[in-house]
Amino acid sequence: MQSPLLQHYGQTQIRDRMSTHGYKMAKVMMAPGQDLMARAGSMVAYEGLIDFNPNPPQMGQMARSWATGEGVPLMVATGQGELYLADYGKDVVVLQLAGEALSVNGKNILAFDASLQWGIERVKGVSMLSGMGMFNVVLRGHGWVALTSKGTPVVLDTREAPTFVDTDALVAFTEGLSVQPRRTARLGGLFGRGSGEAFQLGFSGQGFVMVQPSEDERPNFSARG
């Protein structure tokens, strides 16, 4: 049999903990003692012996956010082998934290090392805009993280200039930035004649903001004028 399908799309030889398979799939090398937190339902394939536990005991801290119907449904994967993850054809961005702290929109988290320190936080300012919250997963430490982005993301340097981001397009930002909500709409914009860009989050400080080229339409947070 001869086909580019066999030639180019086989398993990659990378043995790192995480890597990408194409643009839209993450490959995770699982080993005993290296548990993985992954978005529930994101597994597309695996080789080896891997268990998925959708209700891990660590999830206690998430009960609060689940109660609101928001948050990040996660599962714990344990075992040994190769695990492939994807989220509805979104682009996957794999990165390796080297002591940094990153705040990731709950909608954009795909997987991360369970050894990372993590927690759920409400993004300051968003609730002030709409009364609803935006839940971010804060990750800190040394380890691997896989994010999703609907389309190729862009990383904007907040050191260059204060950066304002549509909350629906926000993927992640580094810890330590100062976050300020901003309203660009005039009052009239709230009554059906808005520009569609009523509220943004402003970031300034030492770090970066990652933005996806799509304003996620899933009902999570919406503050359109």
Partner: protein, 533 residues
């Protein structure tokens, strides 16, 4: 693990690395200024007793080769290689200095750093800005000095005079600024024309230009990370450009092929792996370390590999390193393609954009409802089903536009006219002339198809779902009304009655699709997307 040093901080070198084969990279970001970066090899009395240990652009190498100036590379404005165990005993201090050529002052430095790389890992980074200095025209950045053992100290001191004064203060002689010291071989070629020698080549093939490789051979792979090549901040955020030595898995294959630059559409089919062509001054052989993440690797932000799993690359540690390819691309005009799905518009003049298409912006920008005049009546007409809801972007700054991860295409009209399906308009210059037209036919739901005719000098951004197809009209050309994106003005467009494709019924549609027939001469084209709205 890279240590961030602050001004005045000192440390024995052994606390940072056991290696003696060091790469010293210096970056100075200061638009408009030209810097002479040099290394003074001083004796125990802090004097430049031997001119041949003044390493500068005209004398890029000490006699035994222990100190070499490598020139600009890897994101560093200048770089040196220092083999400490070959430095003669009479040299007690290596002082890395920078002096302004011409006028200017050190306070104009936007950002800068000096970093030490050993064994392919950055072990020290001392960042500074112009705020650390005053009106000085030269700065002493960092010293490597002997005090029992080799130590390193982040000096960060300004020096009032220029390079010549700096040399004189070290007891050197200056004939004519900035002439070579007497000992300098007059025939030395400037280092820019000399490709810098590869670092620690594989043992079996020793680089001829090198003194004997240090023993044990220190694998001097490329400094495997620069983090962001553009200016690092004065206090680097935790982990910026840092690298955890311990969690860094060694590469399985010594040579990961570099990622292909460029977008897949430019390389149809399954392209073979291409070496992207290292710049000649890139002294690091690609078979060592991780070429795809080497500093200076010509992978500009916004460029991506082919995405083929067979050419996948491992991910390097450090958030900024991992995200390097997603960085903002440099602005190249009013409209800049950030990636396939994102466009950046630099404001000054106003631009119109689809309402809600802003994903981020930098600067002082206001978004206003655009609905005045005749446009509104058409665009807001619910009966057309072709509502194009626009907003005005005005102010000063950069706006990033995207819509639902659609592919974006920047079209410079250059005086021509283009008809764009209202569903496929993302943004356009406010200076363009726009007109709404309608193709009427009883076969079209709503009685007609609305499209926007844009013409003039300016740019329109067209969005498509999926990779579009551009058909040259050299005979009758037909396109599904639901898939047509844009076409050149001036063609005869009619609704075809012969080609009728039966489609599955979806809500709101008649169940019949309408094909448009385009008749045009050479040079006319129709753009179709692989997605029927």
């Amino acid at each position: 693990m890279s240590q961030a040093f602050t001004r005045g901080q000192k440390s024995p070198l052994s606390a940072l690395t056991a290696g003696t084969d060091l790469y010293v990279g210096i970056q100075l970001v200061s638009p408009g200024l030209t810097w002479d970066i040099s290394c003074f090899g001083l004796d125990a009395a802090d004097k430049l007793s031997d001119d041949s240990y003044f390493i500068f652009f005209n004398q890029p190498k000490s006699p035994e080769g222990a100190i070499q100036k490598l020139g600009e590379q890897s994101g560093d404005t200048d770089s040196f290689r220092v083999t400490l165990d070959q430095v003669p005993d009479k040299i007690h201090k290596l002082s890395f200095c920078a002096a302004i050529e011409g006028s200017g002052s050190a306070s104009q430095i936007q950002s800068g750093y000096l970093r030490l790389v050993a064994g392919g890992q950055e072990v020290l980074r001392y960042s500074f800005t112009g705020a650390d200095f005053g009106t000085e025209r030269a700065i002493i950045i960092t010293d490597l000095y002997r005090k029992g053992v080799w130590r390193v100290g982040a000096v960060g001191q300004g020096f009032a005079g220029g390079l010549a004064d700096l040399i004189r203060s070290y007891g050197g002689e200056v004939d004519d600024e900035p002439a070579a010291p007497p000992a300098a071989p007059p025939s030395f070629a400037p280092p820019q024309q000399q490709p810098s020698p590869g670092f620690a080549p594989p043992p079996q093939q020793a680089a001829p230009s090198f003194a004997p490789p240090p023993v044990p051979p220190q694998q001097h792979a490329a400094p495997a990370h620069t983090g962001f090549t553009p200016p690092p901040p004065p206090p680097p955020p935790p982990g910026y450009g840092q690298q955890p030595g311990q969690s860094f898995p060694p590469p399985q294959q010594p040579g990961h092929p570099p990622q292909q630059p460029g977008f897949p559409p430019q390389q149809p089919g399954f392209p073979q792996q291409q070496q992207p062509g290292y710049p000649p001054q890139q002294g690091f052989p690609p078979q060592q370390g991780h070429p795809q993440q080497q500093p200076g690797y010509p992978q500009a932000p916004g460029q991506f590999g082919s995405g083929l799993p067979s050419q996948a690359q491992p991910v390097q540690p450090g958030v900024m390193v991992s995200l390097q390819k997603y960085r903002e691309t440099p602005t190249t005009g009013r409209w800049t393609q950030q990636n396939k799905k994102l466009v950046k518009v630099t404001l000054g003049p106003e631009a119109y954009a689809r309402r809600g298409s802003m994903v981020a912006y930098q600067g002082d920008i206001e978004f206003a409802y655009k609905g005045s005049g005749g446009l509104k009546a058409f665009f807001e007409n619910a009966a057309t089903g072709q509502g194009l809801k626009l907003m005005t972007c005005k102010g000063q700054g950069e706006v990033f536009l995207a819509e639902d991860a659609a592919d974006l295409h920047i079209v410079e009209l250059q005086g021509h006219s283009l008809c764009v399906n209202a569903n496929n308009v993302l943004a356009f210059d406010a200076s363009l002339q726009t007109q709404v037209q309608r193709i009427e036919s009883p076969g079209i739901p709503g009685g007609g198809m609305f499209h926007l005719v844009v013409s003039g000098q300016g740019t329109v951004v067209v969005m498509t779902k999926g990779t579009p197809l551009t058909l040259q009209c050299q005979g009758p050309t037909f396109a599904d009304m639901n898939a047509v994106v844009a076409w050149t003005a001036g063609m005869r467009v009619s609704v075809s009655t012969q080609v009728r494709i039966s489609r599955e019924i979806y809500p709101g549609a008649s169940g019949e699709s309408v094909a448009l027939q385009f008749m045009g001469l050479q040079g006319h084209f129709v753009v179709v997307q692989p997605y029927e709205v």
